[in-house]
Symmetry: C2
Subunit: 199 residues, 2 copies
């Protein structure tokens, strides 16, 4: 299983206007990451789960999970993904701690924090986060279950970096250039695909 966790520090946890995704705490960035994580040409990636940890107003924290094997009726354009997120946020608005519901689209929404999710994943999964000073992704030995942690346009704050260190999350690098979070997702997928093709 391959997973991604995006820490979307400003992304709204209430309903938002579909005509202004950047204004909803950079929901456009969240949607692009979902697209690049899950879609191939004419197919969904069945072996990937993408989690977005939304930390913006006004009911944080929320975790949205998109499982490529289950997703139904969601298209890959920003507006369609955003409309599905909006429905999830509406239905999950009043969730209590650790409650989770699944929508007809099979998107899950949980009242859970980024920290909790990382802690859970650390028990079963090889965790990585992208950092310019990390180990070159082409030199990393990946196991079967991997999870990549990404920051949004604001990056990962130092408190989060300390937390990741505590859970032994490894730093990896895509080179010297700082790519869009959504393109980091696309590139991680691509690098792992190349490794799997060789094996």
């Amino acid at each position: 299983m391959r997973e991604f966790i995006l820490k979307a520090s400003k992304a709204f946890t209430k309903m938002f206007r579909l005509n202004d995704l950047p204004g909803a705490g950079r929901m456009d960035l969240v949607c692009r990451c979902v697209t690049n994580a899950l879609w191939l040409s004419h197919a969904l990636r069945r072996d990937i789960i993408f989690h977005a940890a939304l930390e913006g107003p006004d009911r944080p924290p929320k975790i949205l999970s998109f499982d490529g094997e289950k997703l139904v009726g969601v298209s890959l354009d920003e507006r369609n993904i955003a409309s599905n997120i909006c429905i999830a946020l509406e239905k999950g608005y009043n969730l209590r701690s650790n409650e989770e519901i699944e929508l007809p689209s099979r998107i899950k929404i949980a009242k859970k924090s980024f920290e909790q999710l990382v802690k859970e994943k650390s028990k079963t999964t090889q965790l990585f986060y992208l950092h310019p000073k990390g180990k070159d992704i082409r030199k990393v030995e990946f196991t079967q279950n991997v999870c990549f942690i990404l920051g949004d346009h604001l990056g990962l704050p130092s408190a989060t970096e300390k937390l990741l260190k505590r859970f032994n999350v490894q730093k990896i690098s895509l080179g010297k250039i700082e790519y869009l979070a959504s393109n980091c997702v696309a590139i991680c997928n691509y690098e792992l695909d190349r490794i799997l093709e060789l094996s």
Copy 2:
């Protein structure tokens, strides 16, 4: 200089509804390619030009060109890029053959065909197109001026493949998986960035 040409065989050449980009001949796909070609985290790529050859109704063909060095006032979300494309299509609606105008955003629109553009580029630029049976991108020797040609969700028809062969366009491959056109753009950029970092 690094360039991309997307053959968007159904993309509208008239104004369209911003709330339905997929319905405008997959304008969402065009917008995602623009984003992935030109944007880094917090910066535009100054050395890249992205061309979209729009061939849908009702005034084809049109070439839209986005130069990363010149672009102003355009954001990277699908809706914003689409709104700028819409303005360009309105202003350029009645262009005559080979006429070109530049918008305040510095996006250019020309009444020109995909074939004409490929022919022009073939004189000065190393041309590639993505094909599962092409040479592995990691084994290609790139020169200074490269241009990648991509198809949309319908791929490149055989007549276009014959045309590309006539202009000695080389087939290259990203592996066995067929990625979204927009992710092909992101991956080509990444592979070339890695080569440049080593040189």
